[in-house]
């Protein structure tokens, strides 16, 4: 009897359990279908929607800080060296003779760009993390004044004009240039720049301020990109010229050669519209130097050699006698020394056609590259002593400043700022990220396409067949943690997979990154925080009324007239917070003839305001174009009921993510 009862009870429990399981399973699937809006669930799991909080992501965790040198300036008497340490929120002062650090002071906001006035009494500091420029008294290194500028100022130049002292500040995050008066310290005008204005230099006569823009402004999808040098009247801030740099971008430095009336800026000559398979032929990226003459003529010459590349040219400085220029190659760990006498003579004797073709002749650099000075990891900013006898090289990822004797071109010592962070896997990963040795003939580094981990604003032809015309938009690596899978087709489940052997075969065209370094690279990428897209003064503040209206639109479940919006076509379904992606493949009606199919990985939206262009092939130049020009039958969310005001509101909201 007892046994019978037990059997009955057990059977009932088993049946109930089975029924519960089956019911639960179908209930769960129904829930998943309802919430995802996808009838075919495939491999959808709970965590596609139920994501971890942003606070749990690697980039939100405390991390080690390092003594990475940013901008460098030398006092007019040549005795003191000021070094920006953005990761430490500090300015270091070093003795130029003993090469020892004498003082360090706190300057909040990630001090990066530096300039001194003519007497060396005031140090001007661009602080990109707090969107401000600070003025320090060099006697006590105390902050005297500060002024808000545009988003992420990366450099500052000082000049005396007929209208008074001026500071010119490129704001890389808001694509404009702050022109400041010094007494009082205030912003006079903020003219528009190109995209990501990054470096600034004054012409020898002080009548032109030239700002190098790091990113290209693209025209049509299949047109070559062009960046620009924005030229201002430093006294008034009026825009005088926008010199195009054809097929070039990533200009991170600019310097005058006063005796020649030149402006020099290193750049990357990029050929994103040819199939990426052409890396083996050296046809995707090469380093160059643009020479802008007083007559407005711009000539690009190569810094690379026929089978050796020196990627990521960054800082540049020219000797006051106009005979030499020094260019830091951040990916190759060298400083290239350029003979300007040879280039000056060459420019006068060749015709325009020859000048236009020069950038393609990699053998040409043998004529004017005098030396390649080896440096520590990731040389960026450069400075020359006033007498021109010493070159200071910021070895950014070695926490040191290399000092080079310009006569012998040999090292004379280092200003040691920190220990290099050798025990920090994030830092080690950043070294992998910046080094070009992992690509064929060292043509480029990860950073070449992802400056500061972000985007270069280009779409690349990733057609594996080599046929071409299959562009894929470059996606930001900032805030990438937790957004797996990767790649527009969503085939790579991890960052290691994304950057692994297949990537090496298709893109890098050389041996894969060794596993330990690949793991470090993934660690570095996972710790890249999202790009800030709003002014520092707005961080933590409530949304503007327009952005708040846009937020409501983003989460809308019904149209304005009350009509329900299908779950699959609500913004929040695919771009599900907090990552603003459900990490699934979706079709938004953007398939073109050369796309294998119309399903693309749903990109996360964190920092989306700064990552134009948009859609898988970068066809949408602005956020607005996603829904005005490239929306088909409401496939990319129901937008047909939006008014123009509502679209503007949504864009305002997206720019805050």
């Amino acid at each position: 009897m007892k046994l019978k009862s037990l059997i009955v009870v057990a059977t009932v429990v088993a049946l109930a359990g089975a029924a519960g399981s089956v019911g639960g399973y179908y209930g769960l699937r129904a829930h998943q279908r309802r919430q995802s809006g996808k009838p075919n669930l495939g491999f959808i799991s709970c965590n596609h929607c139920h994501q971890s909080s942003l606070a749990a992501l690697p980039w939100a965790q405390p991390r080690p800080h390092h003594d990475a040198p940013g901008g460098i300036v030398i006092s007019p008497d040549g005795k003191r060296v000021f070094i920006a340490l953005d990761d430490r929120d500090e300015i270091a002062e070093a003795d130029a003779t003993s090469l020892t650090v004498t003082r360090r002071v706190k300057v909040p906001g990630g001090p990066f760009g530096l300039a001194l006035d003519a007497t060396g009494q005031r140090l001007f500091v661009a602080c990109p993390r707090q969107d401000r420029v600070a003025v320090l008294d060099t006697r006590d290194l105390k902050e005297q004044a500060s002024v808000e500028v545009g988003v992420r100022p990366t450099a500052v130049a000082y000049c005396q004009t007929s209208s008074g002292e001026r500071l010119i500040v490129p704001n890389s995050g808001s694509d404009d240039i702050s022109v400041l008066s010094v007494s009082p310290l205030s912003e006079l005008v903020r003219p528009a720049a190109g995209r990501e204005p990054y470096a600034v230099a004054l012409s020898g006569d002080g009548r032109r301020a030239c700002v190098a823009n790091r990113m290209a402004v693209r025209g049509d999808l299949m047109s070559p990109p062009a960046s620009e040098v924005t030229v201002l009247d430093p006294a008034s801030g009026r825009v005088l010229d926008r010199e195009p740099q054809h097929s070039a971008h990533l200009a991170e430095g600019i310097t005058p050669v006063s005796v020649r009336g030149w402006m020099l800026n290193p750049l990357v000559r990029v050929r994103n519209l040819v199939p990426i398979t052409q890396v083996k032929d050296g046809w995707v990226m090469s380093a160059g130097l643009a020479i802008s003459q007083e007559n407005g003529e711009v000539t690009q010459v190569p810094l690379d050699e026929a089978n050796a590349y020196f990627s990521d040219p960054s800082g540049v400085v020219a000797s006051s006698d106009g005979k030499r220029a020094y260019v830091a190659s951040g990916g190759a760990d060298v400083v290239t020394v350029v003979d300007l006498d040879w280039l000056g003579a060459w420019l006068t004797r060749v015709d325009a056609a020859t000048r236009n073709e020069a950038i393609f002749d990699l053998a040409m650099s043998y004529h004017y590259v005098i030396a390649r000075i080896p440096t520590g990891c990731n040389p960026r900013h450069l400075a020359l002593s006033p007498d021109g006898r010493r070159l200071f090289v910021a070895e950014r990822l070695d926490d040191a400043v290399l000092v080079v004797d310009t006569a012998s071109l040999g090292p004379v010592g280092r200003i040691v700022l920190g220990d290099g962070g050798r025990d920090d896997p994030i830092r080690q990963g950043e070294r992998v990220f910046t080094r070009s040795k992992y690509t064929f003939q060292s043509q480029f580094s990860c950073r070449s396409c992802h400056p500061d981990g972000h985007v270069d604003g280009l779409a690349y032809d990733f057609d594996g067949s080599g046929v071409g015309d299959n562009l894929l938009d470059n996606r930001s690596l900032c805030g990438v943690a937790g957004t797996a899978p990767f790649k527009w087709n969503g085939k790579n489940p991890t960052l290691q997979f994304q950057d692994g052997p297949r990537f090496a075969r298709v893109l890098m065209r050389t041996d894969p990154i060794p596993t330990p370094q690949l793991d470090e690279l993934a660690t570095f990428l996972e710790h890249q925080p999202p790009t800030r897209t709003i002014p520092w003064s707005r961080v933590g503040k409530p949304l503007s009324p327009a952005a708040e209206r846009g937020r409501k639109l983003f989460y809308a479940t019904r149209q304005t007239n009350g009509t329900p919006i299908p779950r699959a076509l609500q913004c929040q379904t695919c771009h599900r917070p907090p990552l603003f992606t459900d990490r699934l493949l979706r079709s938004v009606g953007t398939q073109e003839a050369r796309d294998p199919n119309g399903m693309f990985d749903t990109p996360h939206l964190i920092g989306v305001g700064a990552s134009a262009p948009y859609l898988h092939d970068g066809r949408a130049k602005t956020l607005e174009e996603i829904w005005t020009t490239y929306q088909k039958d409401d496939q990319h969310g129901v937008s047909s009921y939006w008014s123009k005001e509502q679209l503007n509101d949504l864009v305002e909201y997206l720019k805050t993510l």
Partner: protein, 360 residues
């Protein structure tokens, strides 16, 4: 016919209006891309910009003309309005297909599909502090040069009764929007408030209530300077003294106004320059100078001094066409955009008086 040295300021003490002594005319033969000129602006660098229906044309300081078209990057060849950013030096262009910025020799285009611009048909543009105001066929858009964000003003969020905006002008701390069939909308950006100035009689065929508000609601242009707001319409002229809060109105039949069909108005000081279908009028509200072209093609100038009989003089030169679309002027010269080229008006003065002859 007797000849005498002409008009003020040479022969009229304290006559408050500038008087054109002669015109220099420029057309397609001189390098303009079209005979039809919609807008004119002299920028602070001394260059004169002409918005034509076939591109943007600039008269360099050496007198040569150069044209920029869609090939150079302008969004549409028909340029209806222009404004200079006085600080950055950029030129903003209202076109039939979007808003264009000409800066450092390069065009940047804002359209209703690639930006927050409310509509591609942009009639007028103004740059006021950090904001570019674009009057369009679907409201006015305000583009903040620092935040890069747009605000839209239309019938849904302001007092304007329809969104068709023709004109925008900066007042003293406020913005005036000229609204087609909507009178004038005053906006205070500091408070976010709006106020509509509407025709008190509500009739555009009949002018029942003089000097009591906008002459009609059909506003073709607004302009403001020195405390005075001017409203151009196709049915007359209105003037609002913002300091006295008083209105005055004019129609061609009962006043010296050369024509009630006014395309645009340009304010300089307390003087208004009126572009009409029958020539140009200049007025401070009391005195008038009208420029017309007679049947023989001669230029006529008719001067109305307060309390005196009008004088008419024949000029040796004339406006290039009676249909004047826009005017730019300062204390030294005036430029007239017409449907048949552009005229440069050189003001009378001691040295220029001999070029003017009197009409009996």
């Amino acid at each position: 016919m007797s000849a005498r040295a002409a008009t003020a300021p040479a022969d009229g003490p304290a006559f408050p209006l500038p008087v054109v002594a002669r015109f220099e005319n420029f057309g397609e033969k001189d390098g303009l891309p079209s005979h039809k000129v919609h807008s004119v602006l002299k920028t602070s660098d001394g260059r004169v910009w002409l918005g034509t229906n076939n591109g943007l044309c600039v008269r360099e300081t050496d007198g040569r003309f150069h044209t920029y078209g869609t090939k150079e990057g302008i969004s549409h060849p028909t340029v209806l309005g222009m404004a200079e950013d006085p600080r950055a030096g950029d030129l903003w262009l209202a076109t039939m297909q979007g808003l264009s910025r000409f800066s450092g020799g390069k065009f940047t285009v804002f359209t209703q599909t690639n930006s927050g611009l409310p509509n591609n048909v942009v009639y007028a543009v103004a740059v006021i502090d950090d904001t570019v105001w674009a009057a369009t066929a679907a409201g006015t858009g305000a583009y903040n040069l620092k935040t890069k964000g747009w605000k839209l003003y239309n019938e849904s969020n302001t007092v304007m009764n329809e969104p068709w905006c023709y004109s925008v002008a900066a007042g003293e701390g406020v913005i005036y929007l000229g609204v087609w069939a909507g009178g004038i909308v005053e906006h205070d950006p500091r408070t976010g408030s709006f106020k509509a100035y509407r025709d008190p009689d509500g009739e555009f065929h009949i002018h029942l209530l003089r000097d009591s508000g906008p002459i009609v609601d059909v506003t073709s242009g607004v302009a403001f300077d020195d405390g005075v707001l001017w409203q151009a319409t196709y049915f007359g002229l209105s003037r609002y003294d913002t300091r006295q809060a008083t209105w005055r109105t004019w129609v061609q039949d009962k006043t010296p106004l050369v024509s009630s069909f006014i395309n645009t108005v340009f304010a300089h000081g307390r003087v208004a320059w009126l572009s009409t279908d029958r020539g140009a009028s200049v007025t401070d509200g009391d005195n008038w100078v009208n420029y017309t072209v007679d049947e023989a093609g001669r230029g006529l100038v008719r001067i109305h001094r307060t309390g005196q009989e009008p004088e008419t003089h024949t000029l040796t030169t004339a406006l290039s066409d009676s249909f004047v679309t826009a005017i730019w002027a300062d204390d030294h010269e005036a430029w007239f955009a017409t449907s048949n080229g552009v005229s440069h008006g050189i003001f009378a003065g001691p040295a220029a008086a001999a070029t003017v002859t009197a009409n009996p």
